[in-house]
C-alpha cells in the first residue's frame, strides 16, 4: 500500500506539487491524468523516491519511507523515452535488477525467459537495445520493470512515443500483466481516452494538485468540479456561464430547459457544460437548440469536429460521419439535456445528491 500524506514539492518559487494526499492499494491500477506540466512526472518522482518532498510524508505498507534513497525502495519505473542500458544486451538489461538483488542464475534465466515471452522479446535477447525498433526498446524497458517484481510500478506515459497499433496492444496487456503481480500500479497519461480504456482508479491533476481521485468511470460520469471535468475531457469540454430562471438556463444566444434532476436548483448564475459528443446537429432551430457559428471543421473520416464560438467560449461539436459546413455558417445544435453538467460559481459540481443534501 502506498500512501502520500499532504506531499508538496517546491523548487525555488515554483510549486510543482501542492499538498497531495492519496492512498493506493496493492494490486490496484491508478491512473494519473493531466495535461503536460500538470505535475504527473513530479508526483511519480516523489512516489519513487527520486525526489524528496518539500513537505509531507510518503508511507509504504505502514512504514514512513520519506527520504529513503531510491535504491532501498522496492520500485520499478518506465519513462516515456525509451530508457535502457545501451551497452548491455536485451537479456542483460532485463536481468540487471535481479543481478543487483543477487538472485540465483537459474532464477534469473527463468524470469527473463518468462518476461521476454510475455512481451514478445525472445528473438532479440542477444541484441543491443539500439538495434531494436522503438516499440521493442520500450518493451525491453517494460520487461526490466516487470522482471524486478517490485511492489510499486510507475509508468510515465510509457506508450506516448509508440505507434498506434503497438499502443493498442500494450495498453490492453500492461494492466493485466502488472496488476497480476499484486503491485501498486501507477500509470501517468495525458490522454483522457487512455485513462478510460485502462479503467481502475483515476486521479486528475491540475497545476500540481490532485483535483479528484476516484473510480475512473465514476470520475468521468460525475466530476466533482469544473477543473476535473475539463481535465477529463477530450476534445475539450464545452462550457458557458448561464443564469437559471425558473425552468430555463439562459445565456446570450441560448435558452435551455432545466433537466428534471436540477429542478430544485435555486435561480441564479451557474456554469453549464456539455461534452462534445453530447451535442448533435439539428436540422432546424427549435426549443432547446443552440445556434453556433462555425469557425473551423476537422474531419477524421468517421467523425467530424465542428469548432465554434459562443459567448466568448470555444465550443466543439463531435458528430458522426462527414459534415463540412463552410466557416461562418450558422448551425443548430441539439444538446442531450440530461447529460448536462452544472457547476456553481466556485466551480463545484452540482449533482442530484448534492441538491438533496442541501435540501
Amino acid at each position: 500500500m502506498l500512501e502520500l500524506k499532504t506531499v508538496s514539492k517546491r523548487i525555488g518559487e515554483a510549486t510543482h506539487i501542492d499538498s497531495v494526499s492519496m492512498t493506493m492499494e496493492p494490486g490496484s491500477l491508478n491512473v494519473l491524468l493531466g495535461p503536460t506540466l500538470s505535475g504527473k512526472t513530479s508526483l511519480m518522482r516523489l512516489m519513487a523516491g527520486l525526489d524528496r518532498p518539500t513537505d509531507g510524508e510518503v508511507w509504504v505498507d505502514g512504514v514512513n519511507v520519506t527520504g529513503l534513497p531510491v535504491q532501498k525502495r522496492d520500485v520499478a519505473m518506465v519513462y516515456q523515452q525509451f530508457i535502457n542500458y545501451p551497452a548491455m544486451t536485451v537479456y542483460d538489461n532485463i536481468a540487471s535488477p535481479m543481478r543487483i538483488a543477487k538472485k540465483r542464475k537459474a532464477e534469473i534465466d527463468n524470469t527473463v525467459e518468462r518476461v521476454a515471452t510475455l512481451l514478445q522479446l525472445k528473438p532479440y535477447l542477444k541484441r543491443l537495445p539500439l538495434e531494436l525498433s522503438g516499440g521493442q526498446q520500450q518493451r525491453t524497458a517494460l520487461a526490466r520493470a516487470l522482471a524486478k517484481n517490485a511492489k510499486l510500478v510507475l509508468l510515465d506515459e510509457p506508450l506516448a512515443n509508440l505507434d498506434y497499433k503497438l499502443r493498442e496492444e500494450l495498453r490492453a496487456e500492461l494492466p493485466r500483466i502488472f496488476t497480476q503481480s499484486g503491485a501498486v500500479f501507477v500509470y501517468a497519461t495525458a490522454e483522457p481516452e487512455e485513462a478510460l480504456l485502462l479503467g481502475g482508479r483515476t486521479a486528475t491533476l491540475h497545476e500540481g494538485r490532485v483535483t479528484q481521485f476516484d473510480d475512473t468511470v465514476r470520475l468521468y460520469r460525475s466530476p466533482a468540479d469544473l477543473v476535473t471535468a475539463r481535465t477529463f475531457s477530450d476534445p475539450p469540454l464545452n462550457v458557458i456561464g448561464a443564469v437559471k430562471q425558473g425552468d430555463q438556463f439562459r445565456a446570450a444566444g441560448l435558452a435551455l430547459r432545466v433537466p428534471d434532476k436540477f429542478k430544485n436548483l435555486f435561480d441564479g448564475p451557474y456554469t453549464i457544460a456539455f461534452r462534445p459528443h453530447h451535442l448533435s446537429l439539428a436540422s432546424e432551430a427549435s426549443d432547446n437548440t443552440i445556434s453556433l457559428q462555425i469557425s473551423v471543421t476537422e474531419i477524421t473520416g468517421s467523425e467530424s469536429f465542428l469548432h465554434a464560438t459562443i459567448g466568448g467560449e470555444d465550443w466543439v461539436v463531435l458528430e458522426h460521419g462527414v459534415h463540412d459546413p463552410a466557416p461562418g455558417t450558422t448551425v443548430n445544435v441539439a444538446p442531450k439535456l440530461d447529460q448536462m453538467l452544472v457547476f456553481d460559481r466556485l466551480g463545484e459540481a452540482i449533482t442530484p445528491s448534492t441538491l438533496q443534501r442541501a435540501a
Binding site: 531510491v70 535504491q71 530508457i83 542500458y85
Partner: protein, 295 residues
C-alpha cells in the same frame, strides 16, 4: 486531396524521367584536372615528414653536402645509436612515463568532476566550469618558475611525477570539458533507472555509465596524451638528468658535437610514431573531441 494530385505528381515524375536521356546526350567536357588540388595538398602535407624520414636515413655529411631527394648512402646508424644508447632511449622512456601518468591522472580526476558539472546544479557551477578553461589560456612559461621552486622544495624535481603533475594544470580542465560534453549527451533518466534498479553510485558509474561514454574517455585520453607529449617547456624545466624527456635529449645532443642532423631526424621520426599510433585508434572520434564532446 488524395488520389488525383498524387496521380498527377506521378505523371509529372514520369515525364521528367523520360526527358532525362535527352539532356544527357549533350557531351560534357570532362574535367581532367580534378586530381590536381588533392595531389598538391598531399604533397605539401607530406613533404616535411618525407624530408624528416629522408634525413634520418642519411649521414650527417650527406645532409650538409647539398640537396638530395633520397639517401645516397642508406644508413640506419642513427636508429641503432638511439635504440642502443641509454641517454637516448631513456629520453623516450621518461617521456612516455610522465605522459601515461598524466593521462591516467587527468582522466581519473576529471571523470567525477565532469559528472558533477553535467548532472548537478550548485552555487557558481557555471563560473567554476568556465574558470577551469581559463587555466588553458595562461602560457606555460608563467607557471614554470613557481613549479620549479615548489617541486624542488618537496623533492619532486627531476622525476616523471613532477612533469605529470605540472601537465595536469592544462589537461584536467580540458578533460573535464570534453567529458562533460559526452556525459551531457547521456540522458539523466539512465542514471535514475539504474538507481531504481538498485545500483549504488560507484557500481552504476563503472558498470553502466563508463561504457556509455567510452569513446569520450578515449578521446579525452588522446587529447591529454597529445598535449603532454608535445609540451616541452615545463618538461625541460622540471627535469635535469634522471627524468629528462626526449625533447630535452634532442636539444642537448644537437649542441654537443656540432650538428648531428641524421641522429636528430631519426629521433624526430621516433617521436612522431606514438602520436600516429594513438591517433589511429581514436580517428573516428577526434572531431567530436575538438568540439569538446558537444556534437
Amino acid at each position: 486531396m488524395t488520389d488525383v494530385p498524387a496521380g498527377s505528381a506521378m505523371a509529372q515524375a514520369d515525364a521528367a524521367s523520360r526527358t532525362v536521356p535527352a539532356t544527357r546526350t549533350r557531351p560534357q567536357k570532362p574535367l581532367r584536372l580534378k586530381w590536381l588540388v588533392p595531389t598538391l595538398y598531399i604533397i605539401f602535407l607530406m613533404l616535411p615528414i618525407y624530408w624528416l624520414v629522408n634525413m634520418s636515413f642519411k649521414t650527417t655529411n650527406e645532409i650538409l653536402s647539398g640537396i638530395s631527394f633520397y639517401p645516397a648512402n642508406f644508413t640506419t646508424d642513427s636508429y641503432v645509436e638511439i635504440l642502443t644508447n641509454p641517454v637516448w632511449y631513456w629520453g623516450y622512456i621518461n617521456s612516455i612515463t610522465y605522459v601515461v601518468l598524466n593521462t591516467i591522472l587527468s582522466v581519473c580526476v576529471a571523470l567525477p568532476a565532469a559528472y558533477a558539472f553535467s548532472r548537478y546544479r550548485f552555487l557558481g557551477d557555471k563560473h567554476l566550469f568556465f574558470w577551469l578553461l581559463t587555466n588553458r589560456m595562461a602560457p606555460p612559461a608563467v607557471f614554470a618558475l613557481p613549479f620549479l621552486q615548489l617541486y624542488s622544495s618537496v623533492g619532486l624535481f627531476d622525476t616523471p611525477f613532477a612533469v605529470a603533475l605540472a601537465h595536469c594544470l592544462f589537461n584536467i580542465p580540458l578533460a573535464v570539458w570534453i567529458l562533460e560534453g559526452f556525459m551531457s549527451g547521456v540522458p539523466k533518466e539512465i542514471d535514475e533507472t539504474a538507481y531504481i534498479d538498485g545500483y549504488s553510485f560507484p557500481k552504476f558509474f563503472v558498470k553502466i555509465f563508463m561504457p556509455l561514454i567510452a569513446s569520450g574517455i578515449g578521446v579525452t585520453m588522446f587529447f591529454c596524451f597529445m598535449f603532454s607529449w608535445v609540451e616541452m617547456l615545463l618538461a625541460k624545466t622540471l627535469t635535469s638528468v634522471q627524468a629528462q624527456p626526449i625533447a630535452g635529449v634532442m636539444t642537448r645532443t644537437a649542441s654537443s658535437s656540432g650538428y648531428e642532423l641524421g641522429l636528430l631526424a631519426a629521433a624526430g621520426v621516433l617521436t612522431i610514431i606514438p602520436g600516429a599510433i594513438v591517433i589511429y585508434f581514436v580517428r573516428n572520434y577526434i572531431a567530436k573531441g575538438f568540439a569538446l564532446g558537444r556534437v
